[in-house]
Every structure is written in C-alpha cells, then in structure tokens.
C-alpha cells in the first residue's frame, strides 16, 4: 500500500484539519470532534431546519464537502468506513439547531443507523426535534424485510442537495423529512468497480479483479457485488446499468436527474465518456433529463470505478438541484 498519509490512526483528524484549514471561510470544526459545521457569513442569520449528515470517512467529498449555504448544516466524519460515534453526532446537532429542529440524513448501514439513533435519543433528551431519513438507493442489493435492506450510496449527494435547498427555502422539519423520503424512494443507483479500494488499516485491496474484469454492484465500502464479468466498452456498460435502473421505474414519463459518480481513482475523462453514453441512450429512450452531474461526489477511497444514479425528479426537485450553493465540493 502506497498512500500519502502519516500514522494510520491519524488519517481522519488530519484530513478534517486539512479540509477546515483550507476552507476556513466556509466551515469550522467542533473542538475535540471530527464534526464540521457551517462557518459562512449567512449561517447565523438564516433561521432554518438544520441538516446533519455523516458516516464513515473515505467517501470524500461526502459529507464535509457539502456543508454550506443551501446544503448541509453539519457533517460528522467517522473513522475510515466506520460510522461516527453518537456523542460526535450529538454535538453537531447541538451546534446547528436553531430551534426549528434537525433532519438527520443517514446512509443505510447498520452502524450508521444505530449511532445516529443513539445521537437522536441524546438530542431529544435536550428537547431538540429530530427526524431521520435513511438513504437506500443502491439497487444492486435486494430489499427484503428479513435483511439490512439496500445500501446508501451516491444518491446521498443528490438527497442532501434537495433537502438542503428545501430547508434554506424555509420548509419546516416535517415537510423536509417527508420530501427527503419521497426523493429517496425515487433515487436508484448501481455501481461497478475496476479495482477495489485499499483500506489504510488493512493495507491491501479489499478484493482482487483480473486485468480484464469488472465487478458489478459494488458498495462504497469495498463490498463485493453480484457479478464479475469481462470489461466492456463504456456504451455497453451504460446500456446495462440503465436497463437495470429503469426496470425500477415503471413510469418513465416526466423528468429525471442523473449523477455519474467517480469512485475516487477513476479520472474525469472516463466519467465524461460514460456520461456521454448514458445521455445518448436516455435520449434514444425518450427520457427527459432535467439535471445531470458528473464527478467524484461519493467515493470509496482509491477505488477505480463508477456509479450511475437516476432519480425521477419533478420540476421542484430539479429546481432545488440547480440552485447555487456555497460548499467546498458540490
């Protein structure tokens, strides 16, 4: 393993410190935690529902890169691929509540769900009103009441954008949470890997792929997917992922938003080529794309790969997606 780091145990605090130092006009760190909160000029004046997200590190710029006017109020970073602890989440909630309550945006992993739940219990003891939405956009995992359910992956960035914009517009907590849930229900993602990520504390890639293989349906924590196949041209990959996602949307009228997301080690060049193929195919299928975005938005350390998110998005959601924000990375 070759990484530009110091001690493995110091990765998260040092990363957060680097992020905060280089963006002091936008964000600040809560002392003694790895929670990052808004520090922009407008923050204190704007009375709005707070939006707090967080999760394991290794998915940068998610979540800290999305803290700012019009998106998240705070983000809490856990260790690499490890949910943050309840006390850190609780401190972030305390720091951003303006009396209008706080929405927690949680990715569907047992660790995240449990730690955010414990933090919610702590905050409620302080009479802060809390709602939680759990993002589970990854359709490569079967949903069943007997399992953990689907994972939260790249669609999380779009969900955070929409609820962030809605909260800024003055929407109340109950409505923002309900909106967030509707958005989640209409957001579907699937990802592929060309090369697994190397967790620093482990020191080698999470799984091995041959020089001509890709893994379909990977998660953002090196979870293996549902199939290993030979690599195909971008066009064919786009076709397969689109077919898979569209089968989840029986109604293909109205407009859609898409996100082509790089997993961390895949350059923008390939992401744009893939996006080109995705948009071509969607045009051929007469699907209206009202919003599209390309980039390393929700990564998995140095994983090479890409994910495609498609959201059935009404005009209001598209408007929320397009509104300008002042964050580090949106």
């Amino acid at each position: 393993m070759k990484k530009i780091i110091n001690n493995v145990e110091d990765i998260v605090p040092e990363m957060i410190s680097g992020l905060v130092k280089t963006n002091a006009d936008l964000v600040k760190q809560i002392d003694g935690t790895t929670a990052v909160v808004r520090n922009d000029a407008k923050f204190k004046e704007q009375k709005q529902v707070g939006i707090v997200s967080g999760g394991g590190s290794g998915h940068e710029p998610l979540h800290a890169g999305y803290v700012g006017d019009g998106m998240l109020s705070a983000a809490v970073a856990g260790e690499v691929f490890t949910s943050p602890t309840p006390d850190q989440i609780y401190e972030a909630i305390e720091a951003v509540d303006q009396g209008q309550g706080v929405l927690l945006v949680v990715k569907n992993y047992s660790g995240d769900v449990m730690n955010f739940d414990m933090a919610k219990e702590m905050a409620e003891a302080d009479d802060i009103e809390i709602k939680t939405i759990v993002v589970d956009d990854d359709i490569s995992v079967k949903n069943s009441e007997f399992t953990q359910g689907k994972r939260g992956v790249a669609g999380t960035a779009l969900v955070e954008k929409i609820v962030g914009a809605a909260a800024r517009s003055g929407m109340n907590l109950v409505d923002v949470a309900a909106l967030g849930q509707r958005v989640i229900d209409n957001t579907k993602t699937i990802g592929i890997a060309l090369h697994a990520a190397t967790v620093p504390a482990v020191g080698h890639p999470g799984f091995e792929l041959a020089n001509d293989e890709i893994e379909y349906g990977i998660g953002i924590h090196n979870e293996r997917g549902y199939a290993v196949e030979k690599i195909k041209p971008s066009k064919e990959l786009a076709h397969e992922l689109i077919e898979k996602i569209l089968s989840e949307f029986p109604d293909q009228t109205g407009s859609f938003a898409i996100l082509v997301n790089g997993m961390g080690g895949t350059p923008l060049m390939e992401q744009y080529i893939f996006a080109n193929d995705v948009l071509k195919e969607l045009v051929d299928k007469n699907i209206t794309v009202g919003f599209s975005k390309v980039g390393n938005m929700v990564t998995s350390l140095d994983m090479q790969g890409i994910s495609l998110t498609i959201m059935k998005a009404d005009a209001e959601w598209i408007k929320y997606l397009k509104e300008p924000v002042t964050t580090i990375a949106w």
Partner: protein
C-alpha cells in the same frame, strides 16, 4: 454462577488483551465479508477501555460494565460500537441492584444487542455467539466447545443483518467478525471462571 468485581475486571482486561493481539485477524475476517475495519474498531475500543480503567479503577460491577460500555460507545463507532456499548450498558443497569447469575447477565446483553441491532439469533451476527453462551451458562454447560460450536454454526449461515448481508449467498463459509470478537470475549470469561 456469579462473577465478582475482581474477576469481572480480569475478564475485561483479558478481552482487551485479546482484541489488541487479534486486530489483524479481525480486520481480515471483516475484509472477506465486510469492510475490513472490525479489528481496528475493536482495538480502538480496547484502548479506550484500558485508558478509562487507568484513569479510574471501577468501584463495582455496574461501574465496570458502564465504563466498558461508554468506551465502546464513544470511541468505536461502526456497528460494533453501539452494539457492544448497548449490551454492556444494559448489563450495567441490570447489576446495579443485584449481581445476576452469569447466564442471566449475558442474556441481558444479548437482548440489548437484539434491540439495538433490530436483529435476532441466526442472522450471522455476534448474537449467534452471545445467545448460546448465555444458554450454556444458565445450564452450567459452558466451555470452549460451546464457543467453537457457535462460531462454526454461524460460519455456515447466510448473513441477513450487517454488511455481510449484502453478499447474500457469498457470505456463507466465512466467520462473522463480530462473532469472532465475541468469541474472544467469552474465551476471556472462560479463562477467568474455568470450565
């Protein structure tokens, strides 16, 4: 059978030691069917427990379990932090008034795991080790074989909770990392109380 403060403290100390020794093993197990951090997570918890004990020697059983719980909750994160944390917190509350029989104590912890994890026995999680151990303790049949059997049985299951559940069928044939760390917990207990 009950356990007194001095032995309970030995128990947790031994657990801490085993977690530190087996960090890499637990990470490797978690790399196969999870995200590769269970050893690192539990080791962070182990260090926090040691630090808390060094700062203040636990005065009674409730204090010992609570200190353990808080260290896990505040320093581990992930799934294992709230799970071990909740188990020990519930155990701490339960022994506040009355030192329970060991089988009952571990049952309290097991119930905590089920509540926090919204899960149950047979889902290929640490519960698959806690529950048989608690039952064996109650029936006075607790020994190494109980732990090993629980691990082996759980190994062949398909996971339906936790990260391993994303692998569906492919989770079969791998030891669940949380079950392995729980095995260390109960092997430590065994070393203290004997068969």
């Amino acid at each position: 059978m009950k356990i007194e403060l001095i032995n309970a403290k030995k128990w947790i100390d031994l657990f801490v030691e085993k977690l530190e020794t087996n960090k890499v093993v637990l990470n490797e197990l978690d790399t196969a069917i999870g995200d590769g951090d269970h050893g690192t997570n539990m080791n962070r918890g182990a260090e926090a427990i040691s630090a808390a004990f060094a700062k203040k020697e636990p005065e009674n059983l409730a204090d010992l379990y609570k200190t353990t719980a808080f260290a896990m909750i505040q320093k581990v994160g992930g799934a294992s932090g709230p799970l071990y944390g909740t188990a020990f917190l519930d155990m701490s509350k339960a022994v506040k008034t009355d030192n329970l029989e060991l089988g009952d104590l571990i049952k309290v912890g097991t119930d905590g795991l089920k509540r926090r994890g919204e899960s149950d026995y047979g889902m290929k999680t640490m519960i698959d080790v806690w529950q048989p151990v608690s039952e064996a303790l109650s029936e006075d049949k607790f020994n190494q074989q109980v732990i090993t059997d629980a691990l082996v049985k759980s190994k062949e299951l398909v996971a339906t909770k936790g990260r391993a559940s994303y692998l569906e069928e492919k989770s079969k044939g791998h030891i669940d990392p949380g079950s392995q760390s729980s095995a260390y917990l109960f092997e430590s207990l065994l070393e203290v109380i004997g068969d």
